[in-house]
Symmetry: C2
C-alpha cells in the first residue's frame, strides 16, 4: 500500500503563539476530490489528538481511514462535490513537524526542545496549508474533538477564512474534569522512568506510562452506558487470562489491554504530551476581550464571520459534555451564524463520532448538502 501523504512546508520561520519558532516545518496532509476552478469547494478537516491525515481511503492508499464512513464519493462529505483536505496536526508524529521530528538546528529529534505548542499553532498551520493550496476561503472547516478546538483557534485568528464550520464533539475551552484526565495521562507518561525527560528510544520506551494514558483515554472516550450493555460483568475464559494474580479477568479489562497494545508504540509519547497540554491551554475566551469568559467566547465567535455552522455532540460524552456544544451552538446563533445543533443519544461517548457514523454522517451530510 502506497503512502498518500503530501507535505506542505510552512512559511519559515513559523512563529509559535507562546514563543519560539520552527524552521522549514511541514504539515502532512491527504486530499480527496478536486479543487474547482473557483477554488470555493474546499473542506479542511482537523483531527482529534491521535489520528493521521488518512481520513479515508483513496486511489493511492486504499486502507480504510479513520473517518472512512464519512468522507468519500456519495458520503456525508461527498468527495465528488468537495475538495477535501485532512491535515495531520502540527506537533503530531504522523508526518507533520513535532517533538518527534528532526530539529534542523541539531539534526536530532526535537523532543522537549520543541517550542511550546498551542492549538492556535495547529489551527494557523491549517490556514497556511489552505493558502498554500491556493484556497482563500474554505467552503467548510471541520474540526473533531481536539481538532474542533484547533479549528476555533484558526477561525479566531482568521476571520472569514471559512463560510461554514462543522464542530464535532468539542468545546471552546476545556473544563476542569477534562483537564484533570489529561493531566493524569501526562503524569503517567512522565512518571515512567523510561520517559527520561523525553529522551527515550525504542529499547527504553515509556510503555507503562503510555499504556495507562491510553487506557484512561479509552475510559473517558467511551461511556459507562455502552460498556454496561456491551461487557456487563462478562469474564474472560480461563485460557485467555494472564498468569498473574492481578491480571485481566473481566472482558472490559481485556478490551482496554487490546486498545493500549495498539496505541503505545504507534504514537510518540512526547507528541502526546505536547498535544494534550495544548488541549488544556486552549481557551477561545482569550479572543473576546470581555472580562467574563462567556461574553468573551461569544465575542470571539462573532468575529469569525461564519455564515453557517453545525454543532454536533453526544449525551454520553464525559470529556466534552453535550452542554458545551449546546452552549457553543447558542452562542453562534446569538452572534448571527445560521446554526444547526444536533445532540445525539449515541451510547459510545466521546468516540461516537468515530463509531456511530450512521447518525453523524446523516447530520453532517444534511448540513453539507445544504451548503
Amino acid at each position: 500500500m502506497a503512502d498518500a501523504r503530501q507535505y506542505f512546508t510552512l512559511p519559515s520561520p513559523y512563529r509559535m503563539k507562546r514563543g519560539g519558532e520552527l524552521l522549514d516545518a511541514r504539515i502532512a496532509y491527504e486530499t480527496w476530490g478536486t479543487l474547482n476552478a473557483a477554488r470555493d469547494n474546499a473542506v479542511l478537516i482537523m483531527t482529534g489528538l491521535s489520528p493521521s491525515a488518512h481520513a479515508a481511503s483513496n486511489a493511492i492508499d486504499d486502507s480504510p481511514g479513520w473517518w472512512e464512513d464519512i468522507v468519500g464519493a456519495g458520503k456525508a462529505i461527498d468527495t465528488r462535490r468537495w475538495f477535501v483536505i485532512c491535515m495531520n496536526s502540527l506537533g503530531s508524529c504522523k508526518g507533520s513537524s513535532g517533538p518527534a521530528s528532526i530539529n534542523p538546528a541539531t539534526g536530532e529529534p526535537w523532543r522537549l526542545d520543541f517550542p511550546d505548542l498551542a492549538l492556535e499553532d495547529v489551527g494557523h498551520a491549517g490556514y497556511e496549508l489552505a493558502r498554500g493550496l491556493g484556497i482563500e476561503r474554505l467552503a467548510a472547516l471541520v474540526g473533531c474533538s481536539m481538532g474542533g478546538m484547533a479549528a476555533l483557534g484558526c477561525l479566531a485568528q482568521h476571520a472569514g477564512f471559512a463560510r461554514a464550520h462543522v464542530s464535532v464533539c468539542t468545546a471552546p475551552r476545556a473544563q476542569p474534569f477534562a483537564i484533570a484526565i489529561r493531566s493524569l495521562q501526562r503524569e503517567a507518561i512522565r512518571l515512567d522512568p523510561n520517559w527520561n525527560e523525553g529522551r527515550y528510544d525504542d529499547a527504553h520506551y515509556p510503555e507503562a506510562g503510555m499504556n495507562i494514558a491510553r487506557k484512561l483515554g479509552v475510559i473517558t472516550y467511551r461511556s459507562a452506558l455502552e460498556w454496561s450493555g456491551r461487557f456487563g460483568r462478562i469474564r474472560l475464559d480461563p485460557g485467555q487470562r494472564e498468569d498473574d494474580p492481578f491480571g485481566a479477568e473481566f472482558e472490559i479489562e481485556s478490551y482496554l489491554n487490546a486498545h493500549a497494545r495498539r496505541f503505545t508504540r504507534a504514537f510518540d509519547p512526547n507528541c502526546y504530551l505536547y498535544l494534550s497540554r495544548a488541549s488544556d491551554w486552549f481557551d477561545l475566551a482569550e479572543y473576546g476581550g470581555a472580562p467574563d469568559p462567556a461574553t468573551s467566547v461569544r465575542n470571539a465567535l462573532a468575529r469569525m464571520k461564519l455564515e453557517r455552522a453545525l454543532v454536533i455532540g453526544v449525551e454520553t460524552d464525559i470529556l466534552f459534555p453535550l452542554e458545551q456544544q449546546q452552549q457553543l451552538a447558542e452562542d453562534l446563533r446569538t452572534t448571527g451564524t445560521d446554526t444547526t445543533f444536533v445532540g445525539l443519544d449515541s451510547p459510545q461517548g466521546h468516540d461516537a463520532f468515530l463509531v456511530d457514523t450512521g447518525r453523524f454522517g446523516a447530520a453532517i451530510g444534511q448540513f453539507m448538502d445544504a451548503s
Copy 2:
C-alpha cells in the same frame, strides 16, 4: 491523642471465601454509645475502601472521624440511643489483618501471600465481630461505598442479622466502568517498578503508582459539575507552579496533587490492590440461584429478611451510578422490605456521602429516628 481502636480476634482459622484461611486474624473497631440490656440497639458501620474505624471522635480519641457529622450525640446516627460500631475492613491496613500485617506462619508481612480477599470475607468478619460483642441481631447495618457491598455480602450469608439496612452510594455488583477504573488503578501500582510484586519497603515504595491510583480515584469520586463550579479554568499563581514544563498549572491539578500527597504513604499498596479487586469481584447475584443476574439479586435480597431499608445515592456519582441504588431500592421493596429511596442532587459525586453530610445526615437521621 490516644488510639480508640479495640481489637477483636476472629474465630481461628478464619476460612476465606475463595480458599485459604487466616490464623488469629483480627479486626480493629471503635465504638460509641452503650449497648443496652436487650442488646438490640447496635448499629454496625462498614466503610469505603480506605477509611479507618475512626468514624467519629470519642472520649479516647477526640480527632474528627471520617463521618464526624453523621455519628455522635444528637446526630443522624445518635450515639445517645445507638451503640455504634465501626470496623476497619479485613484486608485493610488500619489495624485489621491484611496483606500489610504479619503472617503468623512466617513472622513477615503477608504481602501477596495473603489469601484472596472477597467482600464476603469482610462482611462475615463484621458478623463475627458483632457476635463477639454479644449482639445477635443488629438494629441496623450501615454500608458506605465498598462497605455497602460488604454489608450486602454479610446479609447474604446471614439472613436476619440486621433489622434495618442503610445502603449508601453502593451497588449489588460493579458495572464495567467501575471495574475499568479500578483495574487501571491497580495496574498503575503494579507497573511501578518499586511495587516489585508487592515486596516494597519505605525506601523503595511505589509512590508513582499510588499517586496515579489516588488521582484517578479522586477524579471518579467527585464530579465534573462540582469541579466546573469550584475550579473552572483557574490557574495557579506563578509562584505556586512547579519548575517543570509539564508541572501543575491549573488549580484542579494542584488539588489532585494535594489529595495524592495525603494518601500515597498513608495506605498500603498491597491492601489497596486486594480491596480494589474484591470490589470488582463482588456480585450479589451469586446468592440468588437464578440464571439471570437481575432475578438473582432480587432473590438474594429477599432472603436477607430485612424489615426496613434506606437506599441513598447521588445523581453525579459516576462510580456507583444512582440508577444502581434506585434499582436496589425497587428490588428491596419488591421483596417485601419497607424501603426508603433517597436520590440526592449533590454536586460532589460519589464522595457526597463524606461531604454533603447535611443532606445525607437528614435522610439517615430521619430513617434511624423512625426505627
